[in-house]
Amino acid sequence: MPSDPEMSAAEQDQKTQAQLDSIALEIKAIQPLTSGLISIHGLQALFDDNTNFKKGCTYLSQSYASYRAIRGDGNCYYRAFLYCLCEKLFAEKGTELKRVMDYVKGSIDTVVQYGYDRFAIEMFHEEIVDLLEAVSSNDDFEIIHKMLNEENATSDYCVWYLRVITSAYLKADGDRFVHFLDDPNYFDIPTFCSREIDPMGREINMVGVLALAEAFSVKVEIEYLDGREMSEGKLTKHSFGNETSSLVFPLLYRPGHYDILY
């Protein structure tokens, strides 16, 4: 019944979904979850001359040597955070590793208080505990890098667990975080979490960045390559979380995306 409006709505819906799926497949085929190190000069080539972006790259090349590209699938912030967490803890292997391990192990008891079903999240929790144990017991970070690049496995599972931690942290202090909601569609933290934090593939926003950094008590430092006018030849840089933490995660923001800086 080609004239039936309901069929055309159905077809439209399926067509849109098919398009989204094919874009996702293409991204998956060409972008690793977390790349190797890329020279910071490589960024320059991505932008046109005489733009604020290009100028921002010049600044970056004076302050950083390289960056690690994270797959652009809407999970990039969480994935970058996870990678940094492993990398920094691997280098440290001391009291911070123990502190984070204890925090992560105990976190499942906290998150179930905020409406997560223990059964549904247990497997993800085990995955991130296993990952941190691998960080602790391995002498070669290449093994961890490989684990974090396996499709449909460790990285995705832990990314989702980081989403749960972010949600639970926001809900635990909803009265404070509600003032940070900059999206006019949301008036309360639980709705915001169920629509923007819990689903896979949803990009993080400022309040999520803040919550995750605080939850782990680490310092996330973000350089904003966002095309805005620079001041004193520098990009805008903000830090989130525990200012005095020895675990510092330097990230690069471009509109809609995060990578890691070195």
Partner: protein, 152 residues
Amino acid sequence: MSTSARRRLLRDFKRLQNDPPSGVTGAPMDTNIMVWQAVIFGPDDTPWEGGTFKLTLEFTEDYPNKAPSVRFLTKMFHPNIYADGQICLDILQNQWSPIYDISAILTSIQSLLCDPNPASPANSEASRLFNENRREYNRRVREIVEQSWVDE
């Protein structure tokens, strides 16, 4: 090949058996754990009461990071169910989260039966009758319920 999807499906299955939610059942096919058959029973004290509605759920290796594809095999008449049995439900599309296991998916679909979402009509006639002529809507639903017994 990744086995995390299969591991999770086995857990889902165990949970459905040990802690079965009321009004829904489901099990993987004998030959393929990635394809499940499920039945949702129409909730009591609603026009859907007594109906037995069959569905298939197809999982990919991306599960539970990606939602399964879920479709009614029984003919349905509902504002959010397409003519081919596909379901317009946010948690199966852009609101999917790995927090939903098979029990949660099936119980969400069950509650959608009595509580349609007028914002996303998939069947315009059902949608119109639901809003404008509830009596006729309920009669059409009863027809579907009776038909569901014949479809066995």
